[in-house]
Amino acid sequence: MKSTSTGVLPAEGGLGDHPLLAVEDLHVEFRTRAGVVRAVNGVTYSVGPGETLAVLGESGSGKSVTAQAIMGILDMPPAVIPKGEIRFRGTDLLKLSEEARTQVRGQRIAMIFQDALSALNPVFTVGWQISEMFRVHRGMSKGEAMKKAVELMDRVRIPAAKQRVHDYPHQFSGGMRQRIMIAMSIALDPEVLIADEPTTALDVTVQAQIMELLAELQRESQMGLILITHDLGVVADVADKIAVMYAGRIVEHAPVHDIYRRPAHPYTKGLLESIPRVDLKGQDLYAISGLPPNLLELPTGCSFHPRCPYRQDNCVTDVPPLHTISGTRGSACHYWREVVDGERQ
């Protein structure tokens, strides 16, 4: 069931039959002077309460554009959504009025970005920026909102929150700034949190702190977490299920253990095999040949075919559908059986 009327906010409380957030056959294009950039070409995924979905892909795979479409922060134009649905508790967000969308954005679906420094305003104190969420959306007084801001900074484990609430963003380290971003995003108790490469700009020891914090916050509040990343290690650590994106499509989705044990798409398999391994030291790494596709001129058929060791003639002509491997797994490869069985032709 989907809501067709505008301005109707998604229900609260029980979910009924609906997933918390479901993206269905989403297409996003950018109409530029150079031509139509097909950034997202039919993405389908969903996330439930307390669940962590990792969206794995390289730059240009469409993983961030999908997230921006969910948040409704794409610049339209040049972006156009010709097709698809984004259902939040059963309501298609794309059909909501801008006013109703604003009620959802930031309050019920929140997002954190890779670059926390540029996402924070340098001329306001962090306390002011966090408390703004409460003043604007909850109508709290300045004093009350500031108190809530300190509480939140404690919750994301910023030491000496009471003193530091009056500091400016540049006075914090990269890890601390990302904590402030997280504090702002969870301020209004969102049901879904989208984290777009939240630790890419951070060092490994700080990355471990942030990932631990996100996991804890998720356990406390049962948020659905969409983690967008290119890091196979981070995914293996925290994800419940994975959607692998390539050239704007989901090429494989599966529960986390299945994908690492037996990938069912040549791209996923190639990525996993290209990780340096101790037992293969001194040998060449497995390398996926060729280059990522040009989104202006996607290859015909399967977008991965020019780089694929399993390629057959029909891969050049036929777009592979997302084959169901089991109830929870799918692969967009004509030859997924061979890939799973590990016979490379």
Partner: protein
């Protein structure tokens, strides 16, 4: 099952990735003929090749050529000699355009068309030479100050601040009035405007160089042992030229107009000599009664400035390989 690609995997001595990579380059070859011929290309030859194909560049060059011919051989365009007092007739002052006098007559009854043609030389010479001098001096000092920073930069930057503090017309008036009579009035105007104009170019070049010099390719050149001159002229100059070209072409118009202001104030080009600036200031008092003696030189001035701006734009784009 047959498979067109060989298996790739660990254990192979040479990754096939290397081979495939050479075949799939993202961009199509540029101008097909040249890419294959194996002749070495450089930024400047490629830019020239590209410019010759830009209609905007060709159009602007044609306009500029016509203007130059007009400056040096005005008699090709008009039979009337405006320096000959007999061609003027006070009785016909401010006469509307007619068959013999396409642009009409001015306050003194002289032919506006002939004066506009003959006025081109002084205006264009002043505009072009002042722009050349300010761009060369300001640009050169800007590169050096931006690259070396430290004392060189501190001294030259403070120096430009002094020049910036002088009101331009007042300063030019002072220079032109002081040396009046010791040099050709046109030369004086050029020098006066150039002295006050170069700090602007200096500032822009210096800022662009400071941005460019922090990029990794400059560090890479240093690591190769490149000399300061090579870094400044091979690496920094081509990457800092764009804003300077834009300002230079805009300034060209500003200088031609400034010459008019100086003429009006009594220095610079003086009657019976002719320039567009002088014509515009002469026609100003009676503009409401007779707008045409002001409009025609103003239109020529605009076309000149526009042509140079168009050419500057085309050159700037041609020097950016990403825009080709």
């Amino acid at each position: 099952m047959s498979n067109p690609t060989p298996p790739v995997g660990p254990g192979l001595p040479e990754a096939p990735a290397l081979v495939t990579d050479t075949v799939t380059a993202p961009a199509p070859p540029r101008h097909g003929k040249k890419a294959k011929s194996g002749k070495p290309a450089s930024l400047w030859t490629d830019a020239w090749y590209d410019l010759r194909r830009r209609p905007m560049f060709i159009l602007s060059v044609i306009i500029i050529l016509v203007l130059l011919v007009m400056s040096f051989w005005p008699s090709l365009f008009t039979a009337i000699d405006p320096f000959n007092a007999r061609t003027c007739d006070l009785a016909t002052a401010r006469q509307a355009p007619s068959a013999g006098h396409l642009f009409g007559r001015d306050n003194l009854g002289c032919d506006v068309y002939a004066k506009t043609i003959y006025g081109a030389r002084n205006s264009i010479v002043i505009g072009v030479f002042t722009t050349l001098i300010t761009t060369l001096v300001g640009g050169l000092l800007g590169i050096v100050a931006g690259y070396f920073s430290g004392a060189v930069d501190a001294v030259s930057s403070r120096l430009t601040e002094i020049f910036f503090a002088i009101p331009p017309i007042l300063g030019a008036l002072l220079i032109a009035a002081t040396f009046r009579g010791r040099a050709n009035s046109i030369l004086l105007v050029i020098i006066a405007l150039a002295v006050l104009g170069w700090p602007m170019t200096f500032r822009i070049m210096r800022a662009a160089v400071i941005t460019a010099k922090n990029q990794d390719f400059v560090v890479a050149a240093k690591a190769l042992g490149a000399s300061a001159g090579r870094i400044m002229f091979r690496h920094l100059l081509p990457n800092s030229l764009a804003p300077v070209i834009v300002v230079a072409t805009i300034n060209l118009g500003v200088f031609i107009a400034a010459e008019a202001a100086l003429s009006f104030l009594g220095v610079g080009v003086q009657s019976p000599d002719i320039s567009w600036g002088l014509m515009i200031s002469d026609a100003r008092d009676r503009f409401l009664e007779a707008p045409l003696p002001l409009v025609f030189p103003a239109v020529f001035l605009s076309i000149t400035v526009l042509a140079f701006i168009m050419m500057g734009d085309a050159v700037r784009d041609a020097l950016d390989p990403k825009l080709r």
